[in-house]
């Protein structure tokens, strides 16, 4: 069998249904083989967005997302998406074409050392110089990407290799002697964790994106209920715990809820589950360490103790560990502690806004009341991300964002991927007018492939987040943050055949929300936000 055909067979053997990519000469043999396959190929309009779409797809399916690019510029265009997936531990299998074996190292046309260039951002990578290694590399790539701490794995295949013949046999099993992630937690440590939680007067659970990687949403909800422990999340952990749950106290961190950060400050035991204590989540780990006993579960031993000293480390898969804990956990009550927290709750006041604009927090909050409960919300980066993270009340759906890398332009392509992962659930992207202009070419992708996504553009005419920093830190010297010259987004959407409306009043807001909740097919809403709206909470 031709190697190119074998590549497609490998994907089929991995049950891959949808791939995202952009062709070019060096990957043409593979594309030729794809011609005869049932795998659905989504042609994006920029390779980075193939990576982001595969990222959104992976996060909803829980399986590695696949993206493809040609050699040279195609491959280098993918790097931002690879780094984005790496920072958030999202499983991707990235396939790139490469120049012919005997041209490697000669600076041939469209040659780029992509295994070298992507090295800091991949969990692992392969350059297939020997055709017979290809099936094993694919098998391993899917295994490595999706197990342990998930992440992107890149497979670079020279064009001449793609055209060679092999005896194709897809390996049934994987055995990598140097890669054996610990999944089952150590029983002694699990007992110590239970004991510490039992003895705690003010325990707090802090969950991160790892809870999704290990599919442990139900287990963490159950544990919190049985032991009556309040829950906060990092940005990556949002939607791992229902906003309607009375034990939920919101997102922590630099942009988090005051009450959530207060809970971190006041608790006597903090139980971190799949959260890596990033600097934006816990800005002052030393202060936490002084007053709090720290328990940390993570599948990646390197994350435990890296940013925050730990009292009880527990290496393992969150789901397996939490299941064991549930067998051992006793019912508890923490009435005083919960009362203390609840006394800190304050009603959020809706700040009046200028005529002709809307309050973005209120809009997002109202939107979350009307959208179906299982909606996936994809927030971009910037002020819109903070507003979404803190005001969209996720009940049963997912919240996706580029948490670790903070990659602008993530939301629209990731929303396309998330929708294709489950076409029966609503998906909405919320982005700024800056980021939208980094990704609106993907409207064509959505239209071409009939992907029904909703888009909300928060238009404040600035790179808002940077503008806010300049206002607060740099004496309001606004440098290179004005978005003057932007197109009319309503007309732009219409140029793609996508219906759209502008929101600049309470009345239009409600109309738009109804549209977003019920319209069949893509729909775009432009929210006119005050140029100087801030992310700070009152």
């Amino acid at each position: 069998m031709r190697v190119s055909k074998a590549m497609v067979k490998c994907l089929e053997a991995e049950q891959v249904k949808v791939v995202f990519g952009y062709p070019g000469a060096a990957i043409c043999p593979f594309y030729d083989a794809l011609y005869e396959s049932d795998i659905r190929h989504i042609l994006v309009r920029h390779e980075a967005n193939a990576g982001h779409a595969a990222n959104g797809y992976a996060r909803i399916t829980g399986r590695p997302g696949v993206c493809i690019a040609t050699s040279g510029p195609g491959a280098t265009n993918l790097i931002t998406a690879i780094a984005t997936a790496y920072a958030d531990s999202i499983p991707l299998v990235v396939i790139t074409g490469q120049v012919n074996n005997d041209q490697i190292g000669s600076d041939a046309f469209q040659e780029a050392d992509i295994t070298g260039a992507s090295e800091p951002f991949v969990k692992h990578s392969y350059l297939i110089k020997d055709k017979d290694e290809l099936p094993k590399a694919f098998k391993e790539a899917f295994y490595i990407a999706g197990t342990g701490r998930p992440g992107p794995v890149l497979i670079d295949v020279p064009m001449d290799v793609q055209m060679q013949e092999i005896d194709f046999n897809y390996p049934k099993t994987v055995d990598i002697r140097s890669y054996k992630p610990t999944t089952k937690g150590n029983m002694l440590q699990i007992k110590r964790v239970i004991k510490a939680l039992n003895e705690a007067k003010k325990p707090l659970i802090c969950i991160g994106g790892g809870v999704f990687s290990s599919d442990a949403v139900n287990e963490i909800t159950e544990l919190s209920k049985v032991m009556q422990i309040p829950v906060v999340t990092t940005m990556m952990g949002i939607s791992a715990f229902s906003a309607d749950n009375e034990l939920f106290y919101g997102m922590i961190g630099m942009h988090g809820k005051r009450i959530a950060n207060k809970a971190v400050e006041l608790c006597d035991v903090i139980f971190l589950v799949g959260a890596r204590v990033g600097d934006r989540a816990i800005g002052n780990p030393d202060a936490v360490k002084k007053t709090t006993k720290v328990i940390h579960i993570d599948i990646d031993p390197a994350e435990i103790g890296k940013n925050l000293g730990v009292d009880i480390p527990l290496v393992g898969d969150a789901k397996l560990v939490l299941r064991k804990m549930l067998e051992l956990a006793n019912k508890k009550t923490h009435t005083d502690w919960l009362n203390e927290l609840n006394s800190l709750k304050s009603e959020e006041t809706v700040k009046p806004v200028k005529q002709g604009t809307v309050n973005p927090r209120k809009f997002i909050n109202d939107l979350s009341d009307k959208m179906p409960k299982n909606t996936t919300v994809v927030a971009d980066v910037g002020q819109n991300q903070i507003w979404s993270a803190t005001s969209y009340k996720i009940r049963d759906g997912r919240f996706l964002t580029s948490g670790g890398m903070g990659t602008m332009g993530y939301s629209v392509p990731a929303a396309i991927g998330a929708k294709l992962a489950d076409e029966n659930h609503p998906v909405i992207a919320i982005c700024g007018d800056g980021a939208f202009q980094m990704s609106f070419m993907e409207l064509a992708t959505a239209v071409q492939h009939n992907v029904d996504i909703k888009i909300v553009v928060m238009k404040n005419n600035f790179l808002g987040m940077v503008r806010e920093v300049q206002t607060n830190v740099y004496k309001n010297h606004l440098t290179a943050v004005s978005l003057d010259g932007s197109p009319d987004f309503i007309t732009l959407a219409k140029a793609y055949g996508i219906p759209a409306m502008r929101v600049d009043s309470e009345e239009t807001a409600q109309k738009a929300i109804d549209k977003l909740a019920s319209h069949k097919g893509c729909y775009l809403v432009e929210c006119v936000v005050d140029d100087f709206e801030s992310t700070l909470q009152l």
């Binding site: 070298g116 090295e119 800091p120 692992h124 110089k129 140097s178 990646d300 390197a302 103790g305 890296k306």
Partner: protein, 165 residues
Amino acid sequence: MKYTISVLVENHAGALSRISGLFSRRGFNIESLAVGITDDPAVSRVTIIVDGDEYIVEQVEKQLNKLIDVIKVKTLTKDEKLERELILIKLRVPAEKRSEIMTIADITGAKVIDISLTTMTILLADTYAHICRLEEITKPYDVLEVVRTGTIAIQKGQDVMSLKK
């Protein structure tokens, strides 16, 4: 403080660049790094000398372990390790000074491995401290070139770091 870390790694293309890349990327200070294949040609052994504290060494170990090609990582403690390094020194030596160099070689355990009309090259395989001492002693002469391998290490006694069962 200096720590000696021994790593067994699959002899795959790119494996070494992943290891060295990790050090610069994570801001770890390497004093030296020496690589060679083992009795099993599929496996290389890397010996890394790291400057840091306990926290850093633990991070280095954990990050190395995360690399898919890395099979085993072990930090060798002072009491359990034997370390050696090799140095080659080429000196400009006029004929009348040859015997002085021979004496230095004799006393330090170095060997003269090459001689020409105007030069001598000496070799010493010894501990880091002895190597440094030899370098010190030869300084007053006209040193043309110094080449060092970096340290390699092995455990004392019956302890082994191997993949054999």
